[in-house]
Amino acid sequence: MQVRNSFKLALLKQMLLGFQLSAVSSNSMSVPERKNAIKLSADAAMVFARGSTRWTRGLVAGLSENSNNEDLLRGILGKKYERLSLPCRSSWKIPRSRKILKRCLGLCSRRKKATATQHDVKSGSTLARRLVKKRIQVLKKLLPGGESMAGFSLLDQTLDYAVSLKAQVDIMRRLLKISKASNLNK
């Protein structure tokens, strides 16, 4: 995927800022604590670099559920934090209305099935549809903020998220290499 260098730069910068703010280099933290701080910094940096999309807002919402993280999030995201933590204009209504729709459609289809003849073997298309549905459900759980998305936007955000994740992994790997190399000089 084509990822702009500024994206990676911004990601790295914010990540290092996060490390600084959370003082991971000090010896006072245990390894799990440090790991969480690092991960939080990395995620927040990714959100900062990407800007405002549905998955970033979902991610921020998920991260800020834990009150400990709020300071660090604010520190990294700065002004963007307020913007990102606002719920999307339709974020809660859409899943509700979709659930209502699905319930109605489910009832209708159930009634139709009851009246229609029973088939022993599922037709190929229904089976495929079920498989796809299952996988879409799994994808929704994976993607931050994915519950409120459906269809095209889900795929779109997945693509976006995957690209950003890849860049994040890339940066972290390099940082690790560099740190290790520099550590050999002890």
């Binding site: 440090r34 095209f152 795929l155």
Partner: protein
């Protein structure tokens, strides 16, 4: 189909016209019941076909397909009866124009019937000298139904060779054999967008070029995203284990400037690296050549291999504040580092994935 040429001259013009009139009437009668689709076209040819079969023996070449009717006999018609073939369009299009809300019957027409029809249209266009009017009328009707229905549709889709005349609306031409109402057109646009996204995802996820089904692709995507998430966890664990991570004064490190979208050759200053590690680090960071990095000329250091001498690059010394940690020899007041020349990144723009993807540039490169 040479046998058809002979009867052509035998039939009078009137007899040729009669079937067309009949079809038109039929079309208008049945407009309420039948959707505009291929099957209807074929069914309307049936009475004519039986009449002509009696005249000449071309029935041997006819195959019967799943729609049962006249597909095979289209070949008989098309060369010899160009006006019939083109006239076939008109009653059906007339039906389409009057039918607005009929259900979609798009996918039911078999692909082989579509092929034959496209042959028909092509041949009818070749022979359309006398039938130019009919063709143009049909085209116009199609334009109107297509244009008026979906002003918001994106891509023009057309199986035919003629081009849409320009107008204010964004035209989505209905494919042959598919309904033209706004719902199905919007549906098709949506489906095409989804398939485009799937293609991009296919390019992104390694090893997905062979998988064709939606379920399989989704499976791979899920696995990929899960593996990336796990990698982030793992890397953060490893980074936590590294003690400590290098601390750099961020603002000065980044030159205190805004990050430019264009990448200039810059350098990273590595703190505390000895000479042996220079080469190692060069190699490691050599892989970075294709990407980033830093754009801070202020941090350019001369390569220093010496032990802790007062390698005071004064500009640097003021810039970098090394916060105390066990790794860094805190006696070192001066920073000595290495200049890494990192190549210019390939500054490819991040194609905004919020729907602005250029449709004509689907290639993804790392």
């Amino acid at each position: 189909m040479q046998c058809l040429r002979a009867p052509l001259s035998d039939l009078s013009v009137l007899e040729r016209q009669r079937p067309r009139v009949e079809w038109q009437q039929q079309g208008e009668e049945q407009s309420d019941y039948q959707p505009y689709d291929a099957d209807y076209c074929m069914q309307s040819l049936l009475p004519v076909e039986t009449a002509f079969r009696a005249l000449h023996s071309c029935g041997g070449g006819v195959e019967n397909e799943n729609h049962g009717n006249v597909h095979g006999s289209n070949d008989c018609f098309s060369n010899a009866w160009p006006d019939i073939a083109s006239g076939m369009h008109c009653p059906v299009v007339g039906a389409a124009a009057s039918v607005e809300e009929t259900s979609v019957n798009a996918s039911s027409s078999s692909s082989s019937s579509r092929k034959r029809k496209s042959e028909n249209t092509r041949r009818s266009k070749e022979n359309s000298g006398s039938d130019g009017k009919d063709d143009i009328n049909c085209k116009r009707l199609k334009e109107e139904t297509g244009g008026g229905a979906t002003p918001e549709a994106e891509q023009p889709t057309s199986k035919e060779n003629d081009k849409a005349p320009k107008s204010d609306y964004i035209h989505v031409r209905a494919r042959r054999g598919q309904a033209t109402d706004s719902h199905s057109l919007a549906e098709r646009v949506r489906r095409e967008r989804i398939s485009q996204r799937m293609k991009y995802l296919q390019d992104l996820v390694p090893g997905c070029s062979k998988i064709t089904g939606k379920a399989g692709m989704l499976d791979e995507i899920i696995n990929y995203v899960q593996s990336l998430q796990r990698q982030v966890e793992f890397l953060s664990m490893k980074l936590a284990a590294v003690n400590p991570i290098m601390d750099i004064n961020i603002d000065s490190f980044f030159g205190g400037r805004e990050i430019n979208p264009t990448c200039k050759p810059g350098s990273i200053s590595m703190i505390g690296m000895s000479s042996e590690l220079l080469d190692q680090a060069y190699l490691q960071l050599g892989s970075l050549q294709h990407d980033m990095f830093m754009d801070s000329p202020a941090l350019l250091l001369r390569p220093d291999v010496n032990p802790p001498a007062a390698v005071s690059d004064t500009s640097l010394g003021s810039c970098l504040n090394v916060s105390g940690s066990s790794v860094w020899n805190t006696n070192l007041q001066n920073v000595y580092g290495v200049e890494f020349q990192l190549g210019r990144g390939t500054a490819l723009p991040f194609q905004s994935l919020q729907g602005n993807l250029l449709p004509n540039n689907p290639k993804m490169e790392m």
